[in-house]
Symmetry: D2
Subunit: 367 residues, 4 copies
């Protein structure tokens, strides 16, 4: 089956392995007339680039993107946008030993069960480098959303048990923290916590929160193609995500209906809700308030600490994973979460354009 | 956009409103040669049928299913299976008042924003009755899974803050509890808790856990079509679900890598994992152990207690929702969760059949 | 695989067998706010209804449609429209003998090869009655097109070697001819030709031409989702269609480039083409002129004349197909061609709405 | 909308413009374990490479393919295969003048209507170079088919009115003729015919026939996803194709049922058909005999002869198309037809694997 293509009207097709020639994405369905340059894409890729802090893998890659098609005179033409990042710092030798065993918490075993063998170098297709394609496509999606006044903003909500309460979504603070944690006091605590984990040759996880503002009401479809269902799939398709919740989420079961329901009120003629336990989505359709969700990210499975596993010769063995790994995935995953959310929003905004006949007639009359 | 069709190779197309003529589903892509009778479907529909306990709406419906196509001599023919449940106990009059305002926590406002108007009778398409189509299709999916030795079993894990620790998934106990809560002591406590909520004219939510056993390793695709991503979409597409987590889920961020990783071991030549924090899925692909996920269900939004909202005349008003409502959705949603999981599993099992060339060659040689 | 669902944004899901309980379709993705009644659907179904002329099967069916969902106060709500025609004149006994052999020109053999067995009564799912679902959905599509000023009109272009040259597409003449052949002199000749065929216990085929007027330029996608490619699939999915051609079609290879190219000219400031060899489509995209295609329909395979075939017991036998069959399929297929074209046009019009950024921004600003 | 992605289980995503940086394709859904090298791809690309005969454009391109992902140790891994051909001989200057007007028979006008502007260099995305992605993907599809004993073979059936009757499909003769016309006497006549056209500064078209042997019976779905419907879409999506017919095709309407039906017979216990008017497909499903179709290719629209058209300044003008053009597209389109057919066959073979329950149970038991 083909599992590296995502979306309906705004479709992305990603490819590439950790230690292959490169990583890329084709964006099919981007409307014509959007200003798009390599710099715009690069600024997002730089947010997930390795080697920038001590909390990220020391693999040294510039991750420079090249646009190969789909733009003309710096504007999109409506045809597929092919973007490539060539790999430059592969050290496949690091991975020769992992060819013979299955790393716990990784997809080594399941790939072999599925495909009969695997490209074991750096995790092959199941490497975190796979997300380069998502982020490049996310940059295109964000350029579209920006034209529609919609902003997608994610940050690190917690690392281990260090949790912040952050209402505004201010990019400045998020980009200042090496952990994408905009409460800078908490960020310092989390850095200390991570340094301890690194000394223990262990790793940590965390929670990412994403806030989407400017969404018009009426986007999302009422049954299977609910906005939250599609955002859920998008985010759960990111490696290491173990859960997602919207609005009051896993706290909702502890509330009564009267507590969890959001009251509607008119405010200067505009419809507002007094609370937002719904996370901006009612019946699968955006209600015009902020869309809020949180994703649980597991601790990095690659750790230097000894672990029990099996090898392909049928033996129980103890291993210690070598190579250049992130002690925590969360900070670099923030822009991936934003990207997958943005791609999904564009797709669902486009799909919502045929909801009612009057708008369709207007659209074609206007042309 | 068309949002009432779900699946790729095993596709379902549901239709129907709470107070329309009926509710139904067309299953397209069911293999030929499967024994399928109306009784088999009915037994699942009976698990979500209203009016069976005091904790469910008192709407009196037999919800009798009729198969209109796709079977011949009690076997599926490979062509679409159309199944219908006619509505018999509509009391549209109950809902005339809700035509003029938006119920908090419901899709009334978002439907109007999206479509310009809505079939307000009993929530129309966004009613819980919509799930009849899902459950009828789920019954077909379960019949297929049964042929492959796969079982899907869900139950009520918690109601409010009453939470059970249940390892086995024994249908007997689940069906004995009026709340689908197999720890019967906890079930009694939860019944008392709900009676209090009902006296307060309020409602409650809970958590459903689903355990899938017998899954072969190697099912699910590594990037966007991860098994957990698709199960996530399926479950989040059920109304009232606010979150989903797999394995250690939202607890994973509190663990270190060495705690969260599941060690592999050979056991009599078979591969086992010593723990199952992964919830049976590694890198989006089943690892051969049990698949475990939990869904957070919000409290029923329809409550008799007074609530603030707005009407279509531009006024802030207070309302009390009349009609026949469930004080809790969780127990009746258990079979819906099972159904959506089963439908997704069948689809992904089918899609996994083309993963490697050797199996494909064998398949065509064998015919 | 699921093969009874068609479309992307405007999706139809058909079901039903010739001698099952009924035939139906679910239309998913119809915009809200369209006036839609059973009478509107019925008028199209009546054009393909059996028993109306001596050139059609004498099976006596009223083919009365019922709308089960998706409308409220005679307007579509945006949710799935389920439509059903119950079978009332099944005479399964007629078909008992065909259970044991394969009719030449039919799908009996291929169904058995694919599914292992088949519902042999009246051809089961591969009966011409399957097209009821297409026509009911086509009626919905035509109602949408009508709001956009687009008309789809098909007629019988030839029967055997009796061929007409018809430029205008006037429904009146088409509906007067029992063969949907608007040149009434030719129609009389074709009737005589068919009576001869019937006396010979044989059957005939013909060509249907379809003309689409009012299409805006710019609809269709430039590579795989070309407008002609999708119309081609739609029409070739109708049983008995053996070929399709657009504009100059199979005559194009006999022309030179200078003859086949259509010259552009301004006419009162409007862009026109001096000829229409392209059939209204350039590079897969509508050019604003009439879209014209022709479909080749094979002679009805069910004939009373003796034929050679095989039975399931491994014997070579001679058979004569009994039952109630059409001596020609063409006249009743005309409305099916219109329907499939209309469904495809709606889908592609909807998909074209996201072609350029300016229109999208306008759309969302306008809401 | 996204129109450059094709297929369901075997999916291809093409990109690139005539005068952009390159042309490529991502193949998603290729099974693991298939031997695949750049040489295998290159041998197909060489068949459509420009500049090899005087009947093709003199643009000098080596069209060298590079595989960027999806293989490891010369075998496919099951992950996306990204293939790229960089453009090396762009002469954009040739096309500056066409920026200001619409070439008859080309997509210039429709692109501008759809997207608001266009990459006019060499036709941009609507150039014949777009087919490089199709052919590279077709090479992968053919490698899969080869493992299953299926061969796809196309050749030039006619050029202008020079038509050949060719029963066998022998690659040797096809590759000897510069026009892919295996009757070498006819080929010489056609070469003379084309030289005349070239002297007249005009162009020609022709018909390509494609024969598929080794197909198992039972592939294709009975309603919308008929094998012929999908082949039809695939072939009609190739630029310049104006029609397609299967088996007796447009001749079928001239036959009676008794003439057009193919009789079944047992031959040494094997089922055969005495004729093949069906073209190997009955009811949309392969019947085990050869699949035969023909595609009508229009004359190249780019001609040096003077033509009437309009410019963007609102004027009626006369033009003569400069640049390096093929006097006939047919010979180079032969491998494109084979490729699109092969891609479609792989997809439909894969989809047919879930037709019946017994095969599915066997498949999973066997693993």
């Amino acid at each position: 089956m083909s599992g590296s293509i995502y979306g309906n009207l705004f479709k992305i097709s990603t490819w590439g392995e950790s230690h292959g020639k490169g990583i890329g994405v084709v964006v099919d369905g981007c409307p014509a007339g959007l200003i798009l340059t390599e710099d715009m894409i690069q600024s997002y890729l730089d947010r997930r680039r390795p080697g920038q802090t001590k909390f990220a893998t020391q693999r040294n890659e510039s991750d420079s993107v090249e646009i190969l098609s789909g733009t003309f005179l710096q504007k999109t033409t409506g045809t597929p946008i092919s973007m490539v990042v060539m790999n430059t710092n592969q050290r496949s030798g690091d991975y020769n030993d992992i060819a013979s065993y299955y790393r716990p918490g990784h997809a080594d075993y399941t790939f072999n069960q599925k495909y009969g063998f695997r490209d074991y170098r750096g995790g092959g297709r199941s490497s975190g480098r796979e997300t380069i394609g998502r982020v490049a496509a996310g940059a295109v999606a964000k350029a579209i959303l920006s034209q529609l006044g919609i902003e997608v903003c994610a940050y690190t909500k917690s690392i281990g048990d260090i949790k912040i309460d952050y209402k505004e979504c201010n990019k400045d603070n998020i980009l200042i923290s090496p952990l994408a944690m905009p409460d800078l006091n908490a960020s310092v605590k989390a850095e200390a916590f991570l340094e301890d984990k690194m000394k223990e040759m262990d790793s940590a996880g965390g929670v990412i929160e994403c806030i989407i503002s400017g969404m018009p009401a009426g986007v999302g479809e009422p049954v299977f193609e609910k906005l939250d269902a599609n955002l859920g799939k998008a985010i759960l398709s990111i490696g290491a995500v173990k859960g997602i919740e919207f609005g009051s989420g896993f706290n909702a079961p502890l509330l009564s209906g009267s507590e969890n329901n959001d009251s509607f009120r008119y405010n200067d003629g505009k419809v507002i809700k007094l609370t937002n336990n719904a996370g901006g989505i009612l019946g699968g359709i955006s209600d015009g308030s902020e869309i809020i969700f949180r994703a649980a990210i597991k601790p990095t499975p690659s750790i230097a600490k000894a672990q029990k596993t099996i090898n392909l010769s049928g033996e129980n063995i103890d291993i210690s994973v070598k190579g250049r790994h992130d002690p925590i995935i969360v900070p670099r995953a923030v822009v991936v979460v934003e990207s997958m959310a943005a791609i999904t929003l564009v797709d669902m905004l486009f799909m919502s354009m045929t909801s009612n006949m009057r708008s369709i007639v207007n659209f074609f009359n206007m042309r």
